[in-house]
Each structure stands twice: as structure tokens, then as C-alpha cells.
Symmetry: none
Subunit: 241 residues, 4 copies
DNA sequence: CATGAATGAGAGTTCATTCAT
DNA sequence: GATGAATGAACTCTCATTCAT
């Protein structure tokens, strides 16, 4: 879920050149398809314009009439990614549901999204692998945005008493974000052949539930909850250099 | 922590060519330094032999007398990484300490390692960004190994009653592994200028403690622990397709 | 003669890339000229793309837009060679002429061809110097094809009573093929400066006639033909291990 | 036979550097072995010093202390080739035998030599593939020498009445030389695996006999020998341009 | 605007030869 | 004399970008 900005207010809309907009739908799609193939398979630095124009079967020169450069095209795809992802997240969020239910909903939505748009999911995972500089150029503090969104949900949860008051919401948001990326990464890696993704999906619902069980209840024995709000480990480790 | 094989028995020692071994220490260091710079800054596919020989100030042809190819050099660096990391982990593990304390110790050791060997830490983070194929070529299921190691600790913890019996140890190991990578990634990214890393380190001990607090106690309110072993979210989500 | 497939039905047409086809005639010729120079002077393994692009005065990168690789270009030239050679052979063959006349016609055609296309002749001689593997990759059993063609002519000759029944046609075809290569090789070597080739041509007609006289009549004294169908040498040598 | 100078009077003895002569026999042999491997498999231009020093397991620098350059080594090997070949030829020549018998003896000796020294035979075949310039640098008109030797035998044959007076001895020598090369080439090519050569050798005796039968008796029908000393083909072709 | 050829910088790699120890 | 590291020229091939039609 977290791989796309949900708060579209901060999203700077990227428009392709007019030339590209005026392209017949079919041709435009061919270009976007080829680009998605490329960015799903390679990080930005390793992406090749040559392969894209070959895949899209457009002349080499046309590329530079449609886009200023490769980053331009990347931006455009990234925007589509955001749009599509937003729909999944909207459906996943339920005002009346509990906080953990909503979080679970978002994790599930992320896997749903990945199974139905495997290349876009791969793109979003690859995005996370980009260098910091590139990431912030493409989408200023995209990661931060995602974390902020989760943070909001968690804060609400604390107010509703559904999230323990001792939990550091910043950290929790960071944890939720990081794990959602890891889960999707694992999901994509475990499926060499994209067609099989759907079959394994139910397995992933279990995986999500087990991960969330840990996040919800912790790993410490339930019988003797520690009330201090500090881990025993932390206490012991206080003297660490 | 998790970025290096801890079970060194499975480690296949990589020796550089004799030519490289016989090099004067100073020159050898210059080469390794340049290579470390390169692999800390770029993934393997984006690394450039040209930059390395420039950085090391050796003739183009010498590179191929020292190493068969770039992967050869990468392997050699990766080995050094493993050796160094192992020391940190050995010191972090304490047989008599509690499970969570040991886990915390590993997280702390990872940040310690990163602060003292920032380029090696960057290399290990970049390693995780490599494609699956490359990763397993370099170190067969390195990720899996790391997870198995954590799994062992967690299983012991369950036997000692320090980890809740309801916790799925496989998932927990996956969660711990993923988060340790994320923490180190965050740590490295937050320091554009490596010198500052040490300053921020104390902040990172807090970060680790807060993350581990969540993992230990969960996010649900402590007063009303759910006894069913299943999250409310999961219960609600059972009907999901 | 024998250096080109005469049965053009088996010839697989090699087309250059469209890019190359669309080139202005003059430029295309410059490239082919430079390539022909190269392959006339060097075997395939020793040919250098660098020299070709220098000779053709095209940019380094253009070569790879015209051809996939050096072998691609070689194939293309080889095809032209076949086409041109075929014309000479067609003219040389005369249905109504005697077998030996036709064979002589082919030898003469080969020298004619070489004198008018010395670089192509050199290419075809160089082709015979290539390693077996390369030769069959370029033209599957080209040598065999040439020999089979000669064998056909000889068999017809035997049926017409123009070739002695005792002659082993397979051997004779092999002999004719080998000598035609040798003659052309000698012809090309004897002319360091191509301009002189035409001058020496009449000398070569004599040479051919003298060679064919031997092949036609043998070296044994005509007065006492051996009727046994076995050479005295062979008889004496029967005891050889 | 023809691949080596038999008249050793014209042979300019090539001595290796003293350094090489003083080498322990075993090491010297290793170098020559590796070089023979190389030149049997590659023409001079394609031979690689790197492979030779690797094969001989001598230091890179030593090569240049043993030989001025690669050509120096080639010369040395070529001399050994001549020495060995000479022995075979000496045994093959029989003062009292007939001319054709002696010629057959030489052909057989060549195949014998090739079967027992396949790498040297390959070297001698490769030598014939070298460019003219290189060949004459190594052994001034080696081909010519071989042809002259055959010419001498044929002249004697004519004097003894064993070779038809109409035969042009120069041409006949050329024909015999060329075919002996072709036969050995065919012999070496037909044996991918050198061990099998001996098995096929008897087949090659037949091949030689059949080739020599043609050369001895000609291809024209024996019943109606043409007495004019000119081929019908040549007569008809007189008008050729 | 569409097209696709032109271009040259730069990558990896090999190699013969020199040279210091 | 033996050794093996140093060196840089030369090679093939890729590619993003420009430009003329």
C-alpha cells in the first residue's frame, strides 16, 4: 500500500508533452506498456531507452518528442501508479472499522494491487531501491508521505484507544511502512512467473495475518505483560556505548 | 546484523588472485578502497570498472590481472564484510542474556558496525537491492540464512518462555530481518555526510528501542489482550476473496 | 569455379539490415568496398571492424546499425560473391560441349572471375582457409557442394564415354576441386599488384591447359598404357602397413 | 611430403637463444609442446603468446628471454618439423624404384608423418594458409622448393621414360604438390579426434592410390588416347579471350 | 511531427611487450 | 637469468542524443 502517495493533494500532476497526449490511444498504450516492462525489470539507472523504443515499436527519435528524457517518462508512469493504487486504498479504508482492521485492509489491498498489476508493483518496489536523490527528485519525500499517512491512522487509533498509548506512532508508522515493502518484495520475488501470483494469494493473506498478529500483540508472552513501556532489553542495554 | 552470514561454516572463502595478494599493501588498499567506494555508491550492475581503476589510480589492464571480473572483486569485498560483521555479532550475543536482549544486541551491533564501517554497511544494503539471481550467485540464499539464524534465536526464546507461543517464528524472523535492513537503510540515508553518523548514533539507540518495544509488546492496548491468538482484523477479514 | 555454390536453390539469401539497404548507394558501396578489402586481405578471425570503418569513413557506431556483427557482413559479401560467380559459371557451361571442355570452361571461368574481381577471388580463397567450423556455419558444407557438382559432371562424362570408367569419380571431383583452388591461389599470389593480373591471364590459360592435359591423359607414357586399373606404384606398395 | 624442404642444403639453421638451449630438457620440451599446440590450432596471426606461456607454465617474461618474438619460436618449430619430415622422406625414396612408385611413397610418407605427428602436420597445413609474405619470410619460397624437388623427380622420370614426354614437368610438380597439401588437409579435417587417425589410415592409402591412378592414367578413356599432346578442351578453347 | 540515420563517448576486455626486482 | 607486475594501445560493442529529411 504504502508505495504510493494517497494524499493526492501533495501530488504534483505530471503531464506528458502535448505530442504524446495527441497520440492515438493504441500507440500511447504501446509506449506506456513498454516503459512499464522496462521499469518493472530494471531500476532507473539500468533502464534502457533502446529497449523501450524497441518494445513499443516506435522510432528512436519519437521518444524525444514525447518526453524530455527518461525521467520524464518515469514520472508519468509513477503518476499512473499513484492513481491506480489510490483506488485500492480507498476501497480498503473503512471509516467505521477498527484501526488494526484498516491497517490489515491496507496490507491486503497492497497484495491485491500487486497481484492484479504485477508490473506496477514491481515498479514501486524498484522505486524503493533507487538512490535517495532520485527518489526525492521524483516524488519529494514519498516515503515520508506514506509514513505520515500511516502515522495519521495510528494517531487516530490511539485516540480511539485501539492503539496502546505507549507506542511511538512515528516508529510504528515506520515499521508498518517498511514491512509492507518487504512483504510486497517477498511476494514479487516468490513468483517467478506472474501468472501464479493469484494462486499464492491466499497464502499471502495468512502471511499478512501472522505478521500483523506480531505487530498487534508483540512477541513477549501475553501472561506477563511488561507495564513500564520500556523493553527489558532496552533497560539492560542502557549502558551501551 | 542480518546482512552477513553468521554461520561461517557455510562461508566459502574467496581468495583474490595471487597477483593481487602479492601487491604492496598500500596499493592493494587503494584498490579495495576504490572498489568499496564504488559498491557503496552503486549496485553491482551500475558499478563501473572504469571508476574503480580511476579511483585506485591503477592502469586499466591491471584490474584484469588482479581479478577475473567485477564479480570476483565483489565477492572478495563481500567476504571481508562478512568477516568484520561476524566480530560485531559475536560480541553482541550473550548466552546468558534474554532473547529480546540478544535481539536488541544484534540491532545495536548492526548500527555500531554501520557507524564504524559506513561504506561496508552501504555495500550490504545495496546487496539487498540486487536482483535475486545475483544475490544467490554471490551468497546462496544469504537472506534465508540470516532469517534462519533469527529463527533459531526465537525458537530458543519460545522454549525459554521468553517469546509468546502464539508467535509464528518464521514470520517473526522475517519481520526482524526486514526491519533490521530498513533501520540500517534509514540510518545510512539520514547521513549524507558520513562523519555525522556517529553523532546520530545515540538517536539510533532510541529508535531501535522504540521499534523493539513495538515488536515486543505489540500495538494493541495492553489492558485488554486478545486471547484468541488471532487478530481482530484477521477475524473481520476472513471473508476476503 | 568451385568456390561458389552452383545449385542456387540451396542458397539461403542473406539480407542486410534495412538501415543498410536504405543507405545512399555511394555510401553503401564505400562500406562494402572497405569490407571486401578487409576480407580479401585477412581471414575472418583476423579481420578488424576498426579497419573497415576507417576504410569506409563511417563512424564506429554506424557499423552496428548496418550489421549485427562482422559475420553478418561477411555473409552478405559471400552472397554477392555467389551471385557474381554463378554468372560466370552459367556462361562457362555448355550442354553440347564435351566433359573435359566443360571442366576447362569452369577453370577458365574461375580465372576470368578472379581477374575481374580479384578481391572477391581472394575472399573465396580465404574462405577455404577458414576453420572447418566457421566454413560450415557460413555455408553448410560448401566444399562438399562444390565437389558434388563436379562429381555430377564427371558421372555424366562416364556415361557419355568421355571419362574413363576406371576413374573414381569421387576422387576425381576432389582432385579437380583442390586444383582449382590451388590454381586460383597461385594466380592471386602471383599478382602482388592487381593491375597486372589481366596481363598474365593468357599465361594462365596455358597453365590451365597444361594442368588439364595431365588430368586428362595422365603422366604415364601413352605408348604403354597400364590396363589393370591399378597403378604400378600401388601394386608395389601393397605391403605397406 | 611436400610440406617440408627436403633439400636441407638451402635450409638456414635457426638456433634458439643460448638461454633457451641451456634450459633443462623438460622445461624446454614444455615450451615447445605448448607452442606446437598453439600453432597446430591457430595460424601465426591468431597465435597467442599468452596461451603458450600458460600452456608451458613459464613466466610471461621468460618468453622474451628465450625468443626474440613469436616468429622466432615459429622458425624454431618449423626447423624441427623439417628435420622430422626429412627422415620420413628419406625412407620413402628408393633409388631403384620407379618414378610413380617414389611419388606414391612420398604421399604415403606424408600421411604416415601426419598420423604420427598430427600437430606437426597441422602446423605444416597451417603454414600453407599463411600469407605469402609471412611464408617467404619464414622459409624463402618453401613452396617453390618443394615443387622443385618434385620437378627433379619428374624430370628423371621423363629421362627414364617413366613419365610421358608431353607432360609439362613444372605443371605436374605443381599438381603433385597442391594435391599432397589437399590430401593432408582432408586427412586432418576428417579426424576431429587425433587418436582415430591411425584407424583411418588404411582408407587413406586407398585414397592416395585412387588419386595417383588419375594422375598416372588420366581421366580420358584409355581406349582412344589422344595423340596430339593437347587436350580436346584446349583445342576448342583456343578462341577464348 | 515522424522518422531513422549519424555520431562519438565510453564501457569492458585482451594482449604483447617492458621493466624492476 | 628468472620472475611476474606494469602498462597502455587496440579492439568490440552499446547507447543516449542529435539532426536532417
Amino acid at each position: 500500500m504504502t508505495t504510493c502517495g494517497v494524499d493526492l493533494g501533495e501530488w504534483v500532476m505530471i503531464l506528458p508533452t502535448e505530442t504524446f497526449s495527441n497520440l492515438p490511444q493504441q500507440k500511447r498504450q504501446r509506449v506506456l506498456d513498454a516503459a512499464l516492462d522496462e521499469f518493472a525489470a530494471h531500476t532507473f539507472d539500468n533502464a534502457s531507452i533502446a529497449r523501450i523504443v524497441d518494445g513499443a515499436e516506435i522510432p528512436r527519435g519519437s521518444f524525444y518528442q514525447y518526453f524530455d528524457d527518461l525521467e520524464d517518462l518515469y514520472r508519468y508512469l509513477f503518476e499512473s501508479l499513484g492513481d491506480r493504487k489510490a483506488k485500492y486504498l480507498k476501497e480498503a479504508m473503512d471509516e467505521e472499522a477498527g484501526t488494526m482492521e484498516n491497517i490489515r485492509g491496507m496490507y491486503v489491498a497492497a497484495v491485491d494491487f500487486a497481484s492484479e498489476n504485477p508490473r506496477m508493483a514491481a515498479l514501486s518496489v524498484n522505486f524503493m531501491r533507487e538512490k535517495r536523490h532520485f527518489r526525492s527528485r521524483i516524488f519529494h519525500d514519498f516515503k515520508e508521505l506514506s509514513i505520515q499517512f500511516l502515522r495519521g491512522i495510528l494517531l487516530q487509533g490511539q485516540q480511539k484507544g485501539e492503539i496502546d498509548a505507549c507506542v511511538d506512532v512515528d516508529m510504528a508508522a515506520f515499521v508498518l511502512h517498511s514491512l509492507s515493502i518487504s512483504v510486497m518484495e517477498h511476494y514479487l520475488e516468490s513468483s517467478e512467473k506472474p501468472e501464479r501470483i493469484l494462486d499464492d494469494q491466499s497464502g499471502y493473506l495468512q502471511l499478512i495475518d501472522r505478521v500483523l498478529y506480531i505487530l498487534e500483540n508483540g512477541m513477549a508472552p501475553r501472561q506477563s505483560p511488561d507495564e513500564t513501556g520500556q523493553t527489558p532489553a532496552a533497560r539492560k542495554g542502557e549502558g551501551h556505548v
